[in-house]
């Protein structure tokens, strides 16, 4: 329809889009600044008006809760309220129990905070945040309350009121002033994931993607799925449609994961077809694959209708494959191995396309605001909890306990007047960042924010504040500082500096109802803050830093355990659980600091192997549960092989590897005996499928690297493998 635009026009248009993009981004940042300012000032005014004890807490809460999107604010506010209520309750309980016993009180506090910090690492997103908060609010309320037990209840109630006021104002402002819903973010992320998945499927189907690159694609996909899930969990707060479609979105992620795991096996198989011995098979498959590969590789989803179209086209392609596969089968003469490779490719391809269309359908349902009615499949459970090794929460909890302990001992022995503040902030900082991928860096940024806010608070309190009269003037005095903090918060690179500045500037500088100019007090508080942040940073750097050997070892073991689970646990509901947990564990391992060395890439290929082996084993076990013609002896040797696999992943050593290979060398000829019996039958019969999956597992097992031999072609891989076998 349109004439082809000339290249200079095209470049001009691209530049225009880039400029527009820049301004759009800036506009969102400034909108955030505006909203934060409005919310902070309204909260401050209300707090003064209601004559609350310390109005700054309301402002601090606004800074903590404020986010770009309304849903995030509501979600964070909700969980913050929850955490604060629980934390205050526990603080009162502790005060009631140990008001006179300082040491007992601190021990009780340490246990509570440690437990909740540990809990925070098991949960995700804002649920995790609620745990952190319930932990440190107990500290924030409990310590001042313990020093003044008679006022304990009032302290708790005041804190609660101020925090809730801040949450209320932040939520209202965020919802009313140019609200930005999570909805569009969710939809565009889902669309992008769909397009990326289609493209990498196209690449996998054409020549296969090399395993190393496939690993990093896999990681990216995992992270995108996790992001989508967090958008969902937050999006249900700000959009009724998202709330209604909760199940649909969960279903979409599950369908995507199912399709992706078949694609893993398929990709590995197509890579094998690049082998020279398989040329015939490749050539026979090429005409079948050509249409689909072109469709998938050239697909760009810029709109939901395009994605829908692709799914329709894929359906047509699938029908085409159905029509032509028997013809191609008869046209070519294959050796038994080639026949097996061909059947495998066709079977996996058909399964993948079914799953891909399923995913496409649930994706369209999301985009069209429909709800999938699926009666035949069980509803998916959503929970923020994720798989991890128990060492992770344990380390996080103990670290916080240690910080609390060290600070308490120092405080008690030195009778440091601002020790309470230092103790509290150290616990807050260490709990807050315990779930971050690189906590030490975050704490360091926070430290910079505190230092900046310290200086700014001086300027404000002693140069600006004395000249201000009344709330309106105070507002004008505060705006530059608060706006600076809010703007820093929108920059991903300086986010933690912005948060630190916003929080601690408000804490240090905003006057209470009765203004005091206390030079020494400000100095003492500032120094206490800096000391506590330093201690927290030191703890993160020295006490079991992220990515330490023990964590890595434990997490790899947990990943290995997943395969044992896939081999041995009862089948119902196992597949989605396996897919979810392996991905989560891999994500956590890859998220550890300094994950990029050659050794880590070996971990990645290893994780991929576990993923593929697990999917294949689960398929095989499902097939064994359906009608097939294996007799009892054959069945038992298949079972033996599966247990040998589990045994190998329980203790990875050369002896178990040999036993595993032996088991598969036994079972393969036994089962393939039946080729004669099944020949001429439909190539998609259960017997054939069982053969195919056994064959796939066999190939993987053969490809497992040897262990513990001194002269080995790839010593790096083996050292690592031997490392966690020990």
């Amino acid at each position: 329809m349109n004439p082809e635009p000339s290249s200079s026009v095209l470049i001009g248009r691209q530049r225009l889009i880039a400029v527009q993009g820049f301004f759009k981004e800036e506009a969102i940042s400034w909108l955030f600044v505006l909203k934060t300012l409005i919310a902070a000032l309204i909260a401050l005014w209300l707090a003064y008006r209601l004559e609350l004890e310390s109005p700054k807490t309301a402002v601090v809460t606004v800074f903590i809760v404020m986010q770009a999107r309304t849903g995030m604010v509501l979600a964070k506010g909700f969980y913050r309220a929850l955490g604060t209520i629980i934390g205050s309750g526990v603080a009162l309980l502790l005060v009631a129990a140990f008001a006179q016993e300082r040491v007992m009180f601190l021990i009780g506090l340490a246990i509570w905070v440690g437990m909740l910090t540990a809990g925070a690492t098991i949960y995700r997103n804002f649920q995790s945040y609620a745990f952190v908060l319930a932990g440190y609010t107990a500290c924030l309320v409990g310590l001042p309350a313990a020093l003044d037990p008679n006022a304990a209840f009032d302290i708790a109630v005041t804190r609660l009121t101020e925090v809730l006021l801040g949450i209320l104002v932040a939520s209202t402002v965020s919802g009313l002033v140019f609200p930005l819903s999570m909805r569009e973010l969710l939809l565009s992320a889902a669309l992008k994931r769909f397009a990326t998945f289609a493209n990498s499927s196209g690449r996998a189907l054409s020549f296969g993607v090399p395993i190393e690159e496939w690993g990093s694609l896999h990681l990216k996909a995992i992270n995108e799925i996790v992001t989508l899930d967090s958008y969902r969990s937050v999006g249900i707060f700000d959009n009724p449609k998202t709330r209604q479609q909760n199940q649909t979105i969960l279903r979409m992620s599950a369908d995507l994961i199912a399709a992706a795991s078949t694609l893993h096996v398929l990709n590995r198989h197509i890579l094998r077809l690049n082998d020279s011995g398989m040329n015939v098979v490749r050539e026979a498959l090429d005409p079948l694959l050509a249409t689909g590969v072109r469709l998938l590789q050239t697909h760009v989803s810029t709109s939901a209708s395009q994605a829908k179209q692709l799914v329709t086209h894929i359906g047509e392609w699938q029908a085409e494959i159905q029509k032509h596969k028997s013809r191609i089968q008869t046209e070519n003469t294959f050796s038994p191995e080639q026949q097996l490779a061909f059947d495998t490719a066709i079977m996996l391809l058909e399964q993948f396309l079914d799953e891909f269309r399923c995913y496409g359908r649930s994706h369209s349902a999301l985009q069209d605001e429909r709800i999938i009615e699926d009666d035949d499949r069980a509803p998916l459970i959503q929970h923020g909890r994720h798989a991890t090794d128990f060492s992770q929460p344990l380390i996080a909890g103990l670290r916080t306990v240690l910080i609390l302990g060290v600070m308490s001992v120092f405080w008690i022995n030195s009778s440091w007047p601002t020790g309470v503040l230092a103790l509290t902030i150290a616990v807050v900082v260490s709990a807050l960042f315990s779930t971050a991928p690189n906590p030490a860096k975050m704490v360091f940024q926070m430290w910079q924010g505190i230092a900046l806010s310290f200086a700014a608070a001086f300027v404000f309190q002693f140069m600006v504040l004395p000249n201000l009269h009344g709330f309106i003037q105070l507002t004008f005095g505060l705006i530059p500082f608060l706006a600076f903090a809010a703007y820093l918060m929108t920059r991903p690179k300086w986010g933690a500096i912005g948060v630190g500045f916003g929080l601690f500037f408000s804490t240090l500088a905003i006057p209470d109802n009765v203004t005091q100019f206390n030079y020494a007090g400000l100095l003492n508080s500032g120094i206490a803050l800096l000391v506590s942040a330093t201690i927290a940073a030191l703890a993160f750097l020295t006490v079991m830093p992220m990515g330490n050997q023990l964590s890595r070892y434990r997490m790899m073991r947990a990943l290995n355990r997943q395969l044992i689970i896939a081999c041995l646990n009862p089948l119902p509901g196992l597949r989605p659980q396996f897919e979810r947990d392996t991905r989560e564990l891999l994500r956590q391992i890859a998220g550890m600091r300094g994950f990029n060395t050659a050794k880590d890439r070996a971990i990645l290929t290893d994780a991929l192997t576990i993923q593929e082996l697990g999917s294949a084993v689960l398929e095989l076990r499902t097939l064994l549960g359906q009608p097939h013609s294996l007799d009892a002896t054959r069945l038992s040797s298949v079972q033996t092989a599966i247990s040998a696999l589990a045994q190998f992943y329980r203790h990875r050593n050369q002896r178990n590897l040999r036993a595993l290979r032996q088991a598969f060398n036994n079972v393969i000829p036994q089962v393939f005996d039946q080729v004669l019996e099944t020949k001429g039958k439909e190539s998609t019969s259960n017997d054939r499928k069982i053969q195919i999956y056994l064959h796939l597992i066999h190939l993987q097992v053969q490809a497992l690297p040897d262990l513990g031999r001194p002269a080995d072609p790839s010593p790096e891989v083996n050292k690592e493998v031997a490392g966690y076998a020990a």
Binding site: T70, G175, L176, P179, P240
Partner: protein, 66 residues
């Protein structure tokens, strides 16, 4: 009208009860409006709902205290 009323012997601001009452009424009305897909006719649904709540709460409060 009493500013505070005793609930289980604890004095509670009447306004708090009115707040809870108007929140309940609001949830009911909101549900009804959602069923007829009211959003289509409203420019700023969040503002509309907020205003509706403010009207309910202040209306009830003024009626009670007048």
């Amino acid at each position: 009208m009493p500013r505070e009323i005793p609930v289980f012997d604890a004095l509670i601001p009447t306004l708090l009860l009115i707040l809870i009452g108007s929140a309940l009424i609001f949830v009911l009305i909101d549900q009804l409006l959602r069923d007829v897909d009211w959003d289509r006719f409203v420019w700023h649904p969040a503002l509309f709902r907020f205003a509706l709540f403010v009207i309910l709460f202040s209306g009830l409060g003024l009626w009670w205290y007048s």
